[in-house]
């Protein structure tokens, strides 16, 4: 899957393609600016858009911000154009436009929100709280994917690990009446899926993408079968797990906007923060991480200096499974409680996209996952306030934006060199 892209780097010649490669960021920004002006200003309704910044339980209350829609979209669209011009200048100077793009995206988002919320109130904390919690499984999955690919095994089975984790955690938590036991069970289930992946990929040299795709089908079939046969006839005993409650962290949870967003979540979300930091630190600052990356980039070299390539791969893929399994537990213990057939609904594939979008880096992948979580939650918030935009077109937006972002900003990304390639000692 991590197809060879290294060869596609555009040579810095003066062809039209090189021109496009150099100027794609300003061109993309210009395109979005035009869309912004045409839609958000051109089709703006008269009225005011309100942003609510505080929740009912906050100690420090921020006032609601009410702005006239048309004025807001005009000002924000001018900012978009300004950012585009700045991008042109920076590209001409040969400087990075990364932060400019981030700012542009934020302004574009507010432009969109102001336009869509005419006569309505957007609950900003609600939007962000939901975004973080919806991103949680994606982030766990993406971390699992990053570790797998960094050590040289493509993990397409994230969806399967999610489902296995969700199913097992619901079952075990129902039986033991302890969500913590469910959490451990979810990790074990993820590891078991990883064992199969690792065994087939490392011992039997089966293509890792094949194993991943097939494992997803296998786990879907198994969990759906067992759900129909066992769980749904015995809902009370087997499929009514206790859920994790939201835990407020003292002081931190009182910071306006950030507090409710980050520090009034369930334990699984706090575990996610720890996991992101731990994976980043371990991958880039420890001996373990160096070995993992060496095995994923150049297994021969790693072998030469005495690292057991296949053993390293096996145990790290298992670790990745445990992390992804935690993400699966979120679907049940952190969210709805009971297990449902195919309840992970393609999130594993989104997590995989986040891995690639985040260029195989835990922090970037986390941000990519947050983007997807935010987009998903934005849709439900806008549906809840009864926006006039056809919901399908809005639902499409995050995916279209991702395609643009991947095509325009990320471009030719380079996976770990040995990712997906089995290592045969010679």
């Amino acid at each position: 899957m991590s197809a060879v892209v290294t060869g596609d780097v555009v040579a810095p010649t003066s062809t039209p393609r090189a021109f496009l490669a150099r100027w794609k960021t300003p061109i993309a920004l210009g395109l979005f600016s035009v869309i912004g002006i045409a839609v958000f200003v051109g089709a703006a309704h008269t009225g005011t858009s309100t942003f609510r910044l505080s929740t009912g339980t906050d100690v420090i209350k921020l006032p609601e911000i009410a702005v006239p829609t048309l004025a807001a979209t005009i000002v924000l669209s001018i900012l978009l154009v300004a950012a585009t011009v700045l991008a042109v200048v920076r590209v001409r100077q040969g400087r990075s436009t990364f932060w400019l793009v981030a700012v542009f995206a934020l302004v574009f988002l507010f432009d969109f929100l102001s336009w869509v919320a005419t006569g309505q109130t957007i609950p900003v904390p609600g939007l962000l709280v939901g975004a973080v919690s919806l991103s949680t499984p994606l982030i766990f999955g993406a971390l699992g994917g990053v570790i797998g690919e960094r050590v040289g095994v493509v993990n397409v089975a994230i969806e399967g690990q999610f489902l296995a984790g969700a199913f097992t955690s619901a079952l075990v938590a129902s039986l033991t009446r302890s969500p913590w036991a469910g959490l451990v069970a979810a990790m074990i289930a993820g590891v078991l899926v990883s064992f199969v992946l690792a065994a087939f990929a490392i011992k039997y040299l089966v293509d890792q993408v094949i194993v991943g795709v097939v494992l997803n089908v296998l786990v879907t079939g198994l969990t759906s079968f067992l759900y129909t046969k066992l769980l749904s006839p015995n809902i009370n005993t087997l499929n009514s797990p206790p859920r994790f409650e939201r835990v407020e962290i003292p002081l931190l949870s009182q910071i306006p906007i950030i507090g409710p967003t980050l520090f009034r979540q369930t334990v699984i979300v706090y575990l996610m923060y720890i996991a992101v930091a731990a994976v980043w630190f371990a991958l880039f600052k420890t001996r373990w991480g160096l070995r993992v990356r060496a095995v994923g980039e150049h297994p021969q070299a790693a072998d030469t200096v005495g690292i057991n390539v296949n053993r390293t791969r096996f145990w790290n893929v298992s670790l990745a499974g445990a992390i992804a399994g935690l993400g699966g537990a979120f679907f049940t213990l952190g969210s709805v409680g009971a297990f449902q057939k195919e309840m992970t609904g393609g999130y594993g594939f989104i997590a995989l996209a986040a891995v690639i979008f985040g260029r195989w880096d835990p922090i970037r992948a986390t941000f990519a996952a947050l983007l997807f979580g935010f987009a998903t939650n934005l849709r439900s918030v806008l549906q809840a306030i009864g926006s006039s935009v056809p919901s399908e077109l809005m639902l499409m937006l995050p995916y279209v934006v991702t395609i643009f972002a991947v095509a325009g900003l990320v471009g030719a990304s380079r996976p770990p060199a040995a990712s997906g390639k089995p290592y045969v000692k010679s």
Binding site: D207, E392, I403, P422
Partner: protein, 451 residues
């Protein structure tokens, strides 16, 4: 490496049919479902490290890929049987007094498993309970009807695999193909024959457009086709949902998100009369199989496709335009998914109007079909028919025996896993490794490598 009873990783390249994949982009490999090494196929890296002459010999020896495939199916059905037996209420109650009367438990297991698989067989191949011949063979025609879109979409995924692209987007391409074909079939008034041709072409074009987006982004910007096709799947779902609520596709005067019934002029005619569902789409699937086989194995385009799939760097050095080939591959791959859409929209049970569920999971099944078929056209055809049989029989099994159809997914995925790992199947059945042990041979000569 020294114990012949424990096939190690390094043994695998010698075994016929072992998918030794040294390049991530290469999904198919040494073996073929029907066991033939494609002419002109470049040996993989791993094969180069091991003597490649073994592979020719291995094909004829016991445990070749045909034998392994049969054993894999048997093993997978056994696993399915265990699942059915363990969750069966009759077996559970009989197992409660297993040590008193073990015969009861065995009988219950036999009843549960036998009943389920008998129903599967009756639903997929031959219904012994019908009196007329037509009634008896109806299941096999249902199987082929279910297989039709699977074959078409599976060919698309397989072709992309051969070029080193992982097209997860068959679902989206199928849906857009359905939009195009559905619009032509419901809005245009054309004479018999022409209408059908236009509708089928529209479906293929629709799929090709959607696949082409991923292809052109891959070729021009290097955007990873996996992300782009995943995203395009979602976009296509919402696009279809949206269009089904607008006059573009929604049935006039209806408020349901469902299309109008397609014009009779655009229907794929049923092949054996009205009592059988099997329609002309199956013939199109056969033609598509032949065309894809010809393109891949006998045309210069196919040669370049395979060269890029084997090693894009080498292909570029040899003067091939790798980026254009990526685009072409995605266009054809999407077009085949669009062909699958036409068999869904224009034939079978959805001719009275389709909704957003027109995909029916075919987009993802196509990936498994392509994998099981080892990305070879004929293999994909056989795999498509097998999966069609599971689909047709699975529902009968669920209805008749109260066995959830999901067990079919388990069986299917285990088959694919096992066929991909022949050493495992041999270990389970304690088969000998079909290659005599030999001291590590020298590397093959250049002539052997470029055979």
């Amino acid at each position: 490496m020294t114990d012949p009873n424990h096939p190690t990783a390094a043994d695998a390249p010698r075994a016929k049919g072992t998918p030794v994949v040294t390049d991530t982009t290469k999904v198919d490999s040494v073996g073929d479902v029907d066991g033939a090494l494609e002419p002109g196929q470049v040996p993989t890296l791993a094969a180069r490290e091991e003597p490649s002459r073994w592979r020719a010999a291995v094909g004829q020896i016991v445990g070749g890929s045909a034998g392994i495939s049969v054993l894999a199916v048997v093993l997978a059905l056994l696993v399915g049987a265990v699942l059915i037996a363990v969750t069966d209420a009759g077996v559970q109650s009989a197992a409660g007094y297993f040590f008193a009367r073990p015969g009861d438990t065995l009988q219950a297991i036999g009843r549960a498993v036998g009943g389920a698989y008998a129903a599967l067989f009756q639903g997929a191949i031959w219904n012994v309970r019908r009196d007329t011949f037509a009634g008896q063979i109806k299941p096999i025609t249902d199987t082929l009807t279910f297989a039709t879109p699977l074959i078409a979409a599976g060919l698309g995924v397989a072709l992309a695999f051969r070029v080193g692209l992982f097209n997860i987007g068959a679902q989206g391409q199928l849906l857009v193909g359905a939009i195009f074909a559905g619009w032509v079939a419901t809005h245009l008034q054309l004479p018999y024959g022409i209408h059908l041709i236009v509708a089928v072409i529209a479906g293929i074009v629709g799929g090709a457009v959607w696949g082409g987006i991923a292809g052109i982004l891959r070729a021009r910007t290097g955007a990873h086709e996996v992300i782009v096709t995943i995203m395009l799947n979602y976009v296509a779902v919402y696009l279809l949902t949206f269009l089904l609520k607008t006059p573009v596709l929604q049935a006039p005067g209806s408020t349901n998100p469902k299309s109008a019934a397609i014009e009779p002029t655009a229907e794929l005619p049923q092949l054996f009369g009205v009592q059988f569902q099997l329609h002309l789409g199956f013939v199109l699937a056969i033609i598509a199989t032949a065309v894809v086989w010809f393109v891949l194995n006998r045309s210069s385009l196919g040669f370049r496709f395979r060269a890029v799939g084997e090693n894009p760097h080498a292909a570029r050095v040899a003067g091939m335009n790798v980026k254009n080939l990526y685009l072409w591959a995605m266009l054809i791959s999407g077009g085949l998914a669009g062909l699958a859409a036409t068999s869904q929209v224009l034939g079978g049970s959805l001719t009275s109007g389709f909704s957003v569920g027109v995909d029916a999971g075919i987009g993802f099944d196509a990936i498994t079909v392509a994998l099981l078929g080892r990305s070879r056209p004929v293999g994909v055809f056989v795999a498509g028919v097998l999966f069609g049989a599971f689909k047709a029989g699975g529902y009968t099994m669920q209805a008749a025996q109260n066995v959830p159809v999901d067990v079919v997914l388990v069986v299917q995925s285990i088959i694919v896993l096992l066929i991909a790992a022949p050493p495992l199947v041999r270990a389970v059945f304690r088969l000998p490794i079909p290659v005599p042990r030999a001291p590590r041979a020298a590397r093959p000569s250049k002539a052997e490598v470029s055979q």
